[in-house]
């Protein structure tokens, strides 16, 4: 039975999404994508640094992988909307990850501005994936605003601390009908498996892969963890109990 993930007009067989940030060499990216099987990867838009010359991350992304431009650097709804429109006009398609941040210490997203941008961009036909502080009420509002998925953070971006906001994310997973993608803070494959066991529809992992000593092998490790976690979720994980439940018969002892 197929277990594809549908977001907007696209179907994904692989539930690990990746990012292009912080690779020591960008030429590793195609091998990482191949090893992980990741079908969607994020990019950012910046002013050209005239000293360093222009770069083009796009040439390292194979044609069969969907590009998810983010609005990183945006501090307001208007800035995010502008970046999204530029990315689409530049030919990157309709997917957009809304990322609106003013807090530089923890890089916490601004849910209020994100909701505004989601309304505007979904009305313009974008497939909007908002990066949010986990919040059930905002998640309902984002659904109404036309979001195609929500991306609650597990812990601060690049912190590798795992899913610290687990209970709120579980509430979101249980209660909203659009895909939930756990984004940010996933530092190791076991964190990714945990998110998938909770019933997350996908995870987005950048730093933990790109800064690994061997990003290609780490990409594969994350992919396997995501698959394992998804399978466990579908197979229905047993309930936790306070006391033991013997797994060997409690009768017929040899004594």
């Amino acid at each position: 039975m197929s277990d594809n993930l549908k977001i907007g007009n696209m179907e994904f067989t692989n539930r690990l999404f990746t990012g292009t940030g912080k690779f020591s060499s960008r030429s590793i990216i195609p091998d990482m994508l191949k090893a992980s099987g990741s079908e969607m990867i994020t990019v950012a838009l910046r002013r050209v640094d005239f000293e360093a010359g222009s770069e083009n991350i796009l040439e390292f992304i194979p044609k069969n992988v969907i590009i998810l431009p983010n609005t990183s650097g945006a501090r307001t709804c208007d800035e995010a909307v502008r970046i999204a429109r530029i990315a689409r006009e530049a030919g990157l398609g309709d997917f957009i990850k809304i990322e609106i941040i003013t807090d530089t210490k923890y890089l916490m997203p601004d849910n209020e501005e994100t909701l505004k941008a989601t309304k505007i961009l979904s009305a313009e036909g974008f497939i909007v994936l908002p990066y949010i502080m986990p919040d059930l009420t905002y998640s309902y509002k984002l659904v109404d605003a036309g979001a195609s998925a929500v991306m609650p953070l597990g812990s601060p971006i690049g912190s590798n601390r795992g899913i610290k906001l687990k209970e709120i994310i579980e509430m979101i997973i249980e209660n909203i009908e659009i895909p939930v993608i756990v984004d940010a803070g996933i530092g190791r494959p076991s964190h990714a498996a945990e998110a998938m066991e909770m019933g997350a529809d996908a995870v987005l992992v950048n730093t933990a892969i790109s800064v690994a000593k061997d990003p290609v092998t780490m990409g594969r490790a994350f992919s396997m963890a995501v698959q394992a976690g998804r399978m466990a979720y579908l197979a229905k994980i047993g309930e936790e109990t306070r006391t033991a439940n013997a797994s060997s018969p409690l009768t017929g002892f040899l004594r």
């Binding site: 960008r26 838009l45 050209v48 222009s54 530029i86 006009e89 990157l92 790109s210």
Partner: protein, 65 residues
């Protein structure tokens, strides 16, 4: 004439977008150009004239999560 390129005032001689890019020794294939809030597609770089006080953004896609 004076224009604003990537947020900084610049005195330039170039009269078209394409000349401005080439003057900065940038590879045109990697760029996205916005002028006064509007994207200028690559086909129009050669015939898009720059005027005094135009706001030009020379952008590119970079690694990010």
């Amino acid at each position: 004439m004076e224009v604003i390129v990537n947020g900084k005032i610049e005195e330039i001689e170039s009269e078209t977008i394409l000349k401005l890019i080439l003057g900065k020794s940038l590879n045109p294939n990697t760029l996205v150009i916005e002028m006064n809030g509007k994207i200028i597609i690559k086909d129009n770089w050669e015939n898009t004239k720059i005027k005094q006080n135009d706001k030009i953004e020379i952008l590119n896609f970079v690694g990010g999560g």
